[in-house]
Symmetry: D3
């Protein structure tokens, strides 16, 4: 891919384009859920799947082991449409008007999660659950709340002032997630 | 849904919105493939799934029985991203530069099909294959080539003049697909 | 022009821009209609007329000798507005709902052809007819149905499976249009 | 047409749509040039040609009698592409960087005039000249400089303060164009 | 205002439009900062200032008493540009790549906060500070993190599972902010 | 910044981005009003404030000494939202329908000026007045009417033909503003 502009990456010359630019196999491989959230997100954004550049769409695969959770997060640049491919998943979002919308979805159910709003997925089955999600942009972005608050060098004092979380709570999660300050 | 404008349907009042507006169960139900193409498209566009109105995304389910084919078609208003959920599917498109791009995809593989270009899906497995597809618009539209040419009242003479198909061929397919003229 | 991105070409430095970047003379020259369709399309897209880059518009000239036809085609990236400058032209399109809309237009009549839908132009006069068309994008694209099906290496078997055309018909048109497979 | 929103008018129900919604004959009729500018603009915007609603394009016809002038004006909502259909026309625009670009165009020549910039057309032939123009929006708008300054109730004092024109000049043109204040 | 569509509200008839539709006085009035955050946001979104409907822009006023904080929040539908009008304000955001960007701004300084990302403002002066902010949409939306997590009926268990916050912390803030569940 | 495309400048690599890319101090400095208009515009467009690139917003500061005027002008690429920070300012615009909308605004009042329409600001106070304005694009453009007509090499004859201004008036203002021709 060429340099990035606000509208996406520069295009590959047509003479070098092959069918393999439009095909991506990564979503067929289960993500590694041996981690703190017992879950994994496998993205097929423009960075992983350059063929979606400029086409207004991208995708991802969610794997949730028993007890798995995709924690509260947002996509700053896209709405999301999720379909459950295996198991059962509780998913929902909180609106700009601060209303809560969530439901437990069975295999084959879809939910749409509007752009930029906090949302989550929780495995509601005793088995490994899988969902395929798509986005209304090739570069949806992903901001996981806990990573934004606790996994970087944002000073604890600033976190506490702007979230009203207790110092002990902030320090505890910074320790778990590798944050500093 | 309220009246339609170029940007979509009027919005439901927030006080009447529930989680069920954002959830759709239709993609979990196999489409009926007992038909001429041994295949079915189950759409979750704004007309079927009003929750996607204004959100830049929609979806559909493809069912392909053995020998099934989603015939050559376009979506005038959206790019498409397909993921194979079961079986094997040969899918591809023809570009504006008249190049052909297609591949046989296995379970978990994805392909992106750019907006407005002719594309197709053919079952490449001996079993019933399934794909989930998403679109970069809540109203992608769907124009199936054979229906456009042979399943309405477009006069045979005009079809022949503008496609170079033989009269016998046009008449034969008009008979099959219920077209007149 | 510089490299292409999804939003168009890189811009020329302002100091090198002259009035000639914004002027195009190609639409004043009749296209050569000595061909199989007795017709010609002369484009003024961004590739021919770089001044339209980023401006949301482009144009073309249609020449139709007696008996001339612009065959069934789509513009994946733009709506089209046609005005008859000479002669009489029958033009129309097929909608996403599979409805047919067409009419014979006299000099001075306009028709609008929505983005991505199959449409056509046929000379309805005994004289050479001319139309000027404009597009809602500098890069409207152009997919001519017969070229997409019969003028490349898309295997005949795939064409037949996805269009229900007879093998003889496909082979005949592939031979005429130089396709292989 | 239904009520207007920022994205255009509400759509007509599909069952009531006919080919006549997509066809407009007004551009075939010469505008009346017996007026102060010896010229006429015949618009085919969404207000006159509802079929362009939501399609990103519209058109107009310019008639310039000998000596005719389409005075300095802007289209706040669209770029313009002009093609000379008869005669010779001098057209040009002034850029944001205050550079001047103009040329005398012969029959068949095109010029593109970027969105929102002051531009003009002057008949450069001794005969009646005609141009067809198209716009990158169904609602391009039209702000004629002299009408904006002198043909409404904007107080002369405010005109003078904000344009540095002399009081006598402002009063003279207000008198000609029917302005007050 | 008329009914809302994804592109905004229906337009007022031109004959009823007056200058007062385009003028808003609410940003001149200090917000009431006698509250838990010692701060106030006064919006001039389309809901408060209908004149911005369809125009791609809106605004707000921030008042921060000594010790005041606009807590961590996002605007799902717009980027924000802030200018300090009085005092000193520490403002910043966390990127999709989880990088932290913040700075203490003095009177006259501006900061731009990209769409959909978590950001905050903290009074860095001992006096009442004021900022004017503008947004790249008439309906930017506003999701305040603590309100989304603790001021509605999202069950504590779900909050805890999706944020890793301790039960005591969640219960404490739900009590402060009026949340249930 | 990298090369410009219709969607903006190429992006800086993330590893080189710092908070200073998102902060701009230029709007805190009063513009020099010792000039012919007793006023100054200090822009914070993408050219001055690269951090707004791709974010759909930009800003400027207006300084108006007693008697100061921001002359009649347009922004071809953006709507404007103005807030009075000091003094009193008369501002308004002329619509596409040629209606005049203006009002004298006091400190804290806002006005929205739709994209591409002629508008102005006049100091209505006896003191130095200040406004902050924001735009719905990082590259709004600025076309000042008098500069477009009188401060370049557009021939006087063309100015006169397309504006109906008298030759003496045109020559006088060309002399004042440094125009030729």
């Amino acid at each position: 891919m060429g340099p990035e502009s606000p509208a996406g990456y520069s295009c590959k010359p047509v003479t070098k384009v092959t069918i393999d630019d439009f095909v991506f196999s990564g979503l067929g491989i289960p993500g590694n859920t041996t981690n703190i959230i017992n879950a994994a997100v496998t993205p097929a954004f423009a960075a992983q799947f350059p063929g979606v550049n400029g086409l207004g769409i991208s995708a991802a695969r969610l794997d949730l082991a028993p007890g798995g959770v995709i924690p509260m997060h947002t996509h700053p640049g896209a709405s999301e449409l999720l379909i459950v491919a295996r198991g059962r998943i509780t998913s929902g979002f909180i609106s700009s008007a601060n209303n809560v919308y969530y439901k437990t979805l069975k295999k084959g159910d879809s939910i749409v999660l509007p752009q930029g709003l906090l949302h989550f997925q929780v495995n509601a089955a005793k088995i490994h659950s899988v969902a395929f999600v798509s986005f209304s942009s090739p570069v949806p972005g992903l901001q996981i709340l806990d990573f934004a608050l606790f996994a970087n060098n944002l000073p604890s004092l600033l976190v506490e002032k702007t979230t009203f979380l207790d110092d002990a709570q902030v320090k505890k999660l910074k320790a778990v997630l590798g944050g500093t300050g």
